[in-house]
């Protein structure tokens, strides 16, 4: 079933601020098995010039996955049929503990090919003052009936 192309260009209202916790970063870091000290040790992060521990490069998916959920819901996508196509992060600066981050999700592209549907979203993550932190592109593949 083709997805409604009229969603292209649609932007969703900013999400409520997400406060990045030191222990949430630690949980994510342990889940991916990373050991860089600046992820868990505030002193190591300060030595790199940050006010608190730094999050790993793919950590923003924690926020953007939730921010993109409304797109999946609104397009009527069955989540078990979704596989991840592409993913990209472009950083202005790393995410650090204590950040309060707001996400604005925009639907960039919807297309069909080879019996599958594709939807690309961009989530712009900024602080509560509006300063950009990271932009996150996600392309999902909605598998057609086998």
């Amino acid at each position: 079933m083709a997805l409604d192309p009229s969603f292209v260009g649609r932007s969703y209202p900013p999400t409520p601020p997400y406060r990045v916790g030191r222990e949430k970063i630690r949980e994510f870091v342990e889940a991916i098995g990373a050991t860089d000290p600046a992820y868990t040790d505030p002193d190591a992060a300060r030595a790199l010039g940050y006010p608190d521990v730094v999050a790993p490069p793919t950590f923003p998916i924690v926020l953007t996955l939730a921010a993109g959920q409304s797109v999946i819901d609104d397009l009527g996508i069955e989540y078990a049929r979704v596989v991840h196509g592409d993913q990209r992060f472009a950083y202005t600066r790393p995410v650090v503990a204590g950040d309060e981050l707001v996400c604005v999700c925009t639907v960039e592209e919807i297309m069909s090919r080879g019996g599958h549907d594709f939807v690309t979203t961009r989530v712009d993550v900024s602080d509560t003052a509006g300063a950009p932190v990271v932009s996150v592109w996600t392309r999902l593949v909605v598998r057609g009936d086998a």
Partner: protein, 148 residues
């Protein structure tokens, strides 16, 4: 953590090997909030045409991200990072799991930033394509292009 690599164009970065078990997927699901059942239920994974439970693409991407910061020797090295997920990492329900191998080559160094091309495989097959990152590296080597 290993010593940071020397940053020279064409440099091959030491391949990093990571093991992925079902338990890792459960932990990652909880930490990331991605509870898609294809990452924990064989029944549901097969019902949508997959061979069985597959790793979260973002988990594989996170492992390759570990390689990036290991090579760079700093947690905040990644400026830009993108991948295409081409083949699922199938994770068997045993104690061994699957293996993910991350190799990299330095394509260019410009203004203290390195462009790295990644090759990420599992069971000898490429699982990511167009996997590239731009990294902040401590002082690109003298004579590299683009350094003013």
């Amino acid at each position: 953590m290993s010593e940071p690599q020397a940053w020279v164009e064409g440099q091959e970065l030491a391949a990093q090997t990571y093991r992925v078990t079902r338990a890792d997927l459960v932990r990652y699901a909880g930490a990331s909030g991605d509870f898609n059942p294809i990452h924990w239920s064989d029944r549901i994974a097969r019902s949508v045409g997959l061979p069985g439970v597959i790793a979260h693409g973002m988990f594989t991407m996170a492992l390759a991200g570990r390689a990036l910061t290991t090579w760079a020797g700093r947690a905040d090295a990644v400026i830009e990072y993108g991948v295409r997920f081409t083949k699922p990492v199938v994770v068997p329900d045993d104690d061994t799991g699957a293996e993910v191998v991350v190799a990299g080559v330095v394509r260019s160094i410009i203004d203290g930033q390195a462009q790295v091309d990644l090759t990420v495989t599992s069971g000898g097959e490429k699982v990511l394509a167009q996997a590239r990152a731009r990294l902040r590296v401590a002082g690109g080597s003298a004579g590299s292009t683009g350094v003013p």
